[in-house]
Amino acid sequence: MSFSIEQILRGDLPRGGQSPPAAADPGLLPVSLRINGHDYHLQLESRVSLLDALREFIGLTGTKKGCNQGACGACTVLVDGERVNSCLTFAVMHEGQEITTIEGLGQPDNLHPLQAAFIEHDGFQCGYCTPGQICSALAMLKEVAQGDASLATSDLTKAEVDLTDEEIRERMSGNICRCGAYLGIVDSIRDVYEQQKGQ
């Protein structure tokens, strides 16, 4: 038995041998998204999340769907350089913004320093959370560079962040790794942070 993408997204798959109820045609909207420097012109229902637009309509499956409720961080992408959960926002809301996914960071023959560091430090086992971890870490290092505080920051009046391991852990708490590769993830991020600082 096969299902259309529309059926999957609506969650109206047949259950227990019953045929799916006829859904009213909710209508499609023209939606233009700029992703990794490319423009995509799509026809989407308003209820399609940014995550589903990336994966199911554009074919950028690097971004992962974990919990689909903002709890795991696997779907983290950058919108105008800031990390967000792509599962909790509608694609149509992001016209005119610059979206960056893991595919926009590096390629197998030209890895982003964070991707290389995750390999070097065993920052993953199954790899499912990794694209979200790396997009999150990239934005996190930018936040640190601009002096953003976290709950682990003791002096809020100081604009400079001392990126301790405690700081890295607090700042990465929106990305869950069910394999428990946290030690390697912290090592990877610290490594890239120190590389950048040394430059």
Binding site: R10, G11, A23, A24, P26, G27, L29, E45, S46, R47, S49, N68, Q69, G70, G73, T76, V79, E82, R83, V84, N85, C87, L88, T89, F90, V92, M93, S136, A139, M140, E143, G147, D148, A149, S150, L151, L156, T157, A159, R169, E170, R171, S173, G174, N175
Partner: protein, 330 residues
């Protein structure tokens, strides 16, 4: 998720106009709570009005030395605004203790106030819930109620308001700026959220055809001595079991100014007036802190799984006040 009409509002009057025309419509800001609730079919708007293009993202100083936080300023930007960090550290800490960095980047200040309870029975559309479906009953009162309220509850609802930011705003005497077709008015933060009473379906006193434009913080010089202390099941990315926003000024061994608000204990941020009254003018000692905490929690009611919150709230108040007092002495 049900299908809906997407309306992108170009300005505030277009947004209000769309809401007035359709009583079933919902504004969307960050969407971090609304999208989730729509997916669970707890919220079923037939129209979503996107207000993200409205020019309400500024954070600016007010003539009286206060600060105006735009309704659409993101939680992350608000927490890290230099003037917020310097003048209202309790607010920065409260925001940074909530959710995750990704969620704070999406979440707006107004949306934070309007987020709904995380009561599991409210989320479970197969369970009775007076908040979701008035008159259907409350599954939490006789159910698993570890995260639920101990103050200001009713026989209809024991849900808590989940916001950390709003608890800090309660301690800072913030006011919510609201635009309606009739003009602009403001609502003190304490009058913004409601206790459940017989109408738990109403979280706030904001009308359907009203839009939050900003949250104002009054000039509060002593708020530089402030703290948000959040107790939860894990040290990051979890809702509060109990939290305390505390602002304290001690001079000449006397408490000159004190503000206390509790989170995780009620249907709204709980401003601790009884405790403040006992503390004001007193010497800052462990005994008086405990007495103030006892007074504030005197009317608390524990349910099967959350009675621990009563003692926890008292101890959290004492620890917040002790920490701030020690900073004064240091």
């Amino acid at each position: 998720m049900r299908a809906f009409t997407y309306t992108r509002a170009a300005d505030t009057s277009a947004a209000l106009g769309a809401a007035i025309q359709n009583p079933e419509a919902k504004f969307i800001g960050g969407g971090t709570n609304l999208v989730d609730l729509m997916r669970e079919e707890v919220e079923r708007p037939n129209e979503v009005i996107d207000i993200n293009r409205l020019p309400l993202s500024q954070i600016e100083e007010l003539p009286d030395g206060g600060l105006r936080l735009g309704a659409l300023a993101r939680n992350s930007h608000t927490a890290n605004h230099l003037l917020v960090r310097q003048r209202y550290p309790v607010l920065t800490q409260a925001i940074l203790s909530a959710a995750s960095p990704q969620l704070r980047n999406l979440a707006t200040n107004a949306g934070n106030l309007l987020q709904r309870t995380r009561c599991y029975y409210f989320y479970d559309i197969t369970a009775p819930c007076n908040k979701r479906q008035p008159g259907s009953g409350c599954a939490a009162i006789g159910g698993f109620n570890r995260i639920h309220a101990i103050l200001g509850t009713s026989e209809q609802c024991i849900a808590t308001h989940p916001s950390d930011m709003a608890v800090a705003l309660a301690a800072l005497d913030a006011t919510v700026q609201v635009q309606s077709a009739n003009g602009q008015h403001s609502i003190p933060i304490e009058a913004f959220h409601r206790l459940p009473g017989d109408t738990p379906e109403q979280d706030t006193n904001l009308g359907h055809d009203e839009l939050i434009t900003a949250i104002d913080l009054p000039a509060t010089p002593f708020a530089t001595s402030s703290l948000y202390l959040k107790v939860r099941d894990r040290p990051s990315f979890a809702f509060a079991l109990v939290s305390v926003a505390a602002v304290l000024k001690v001079a000449d061994s006397q408490i000159k100014n004190v503000r206390l608000a509790l989170g995780g204990v009620a249907h709204k941020p709980w401003r601790a007036h009884a405790a403040e009254e006992i503390l004001t003018g007193a010497q800052p000692t462990a005994e008086i802190f405990r007495r103030a905490a006892e007074a504030e929690l005197q009317a608390a009611i524990g349910y099967e799984h959350n009675a621990f919150k009563i003692e926890l709230a008292k101890r959290t108040i004492v620890r917040a006040l002790t920490t701030l007092t020690e900073r004064h002495l240091a």
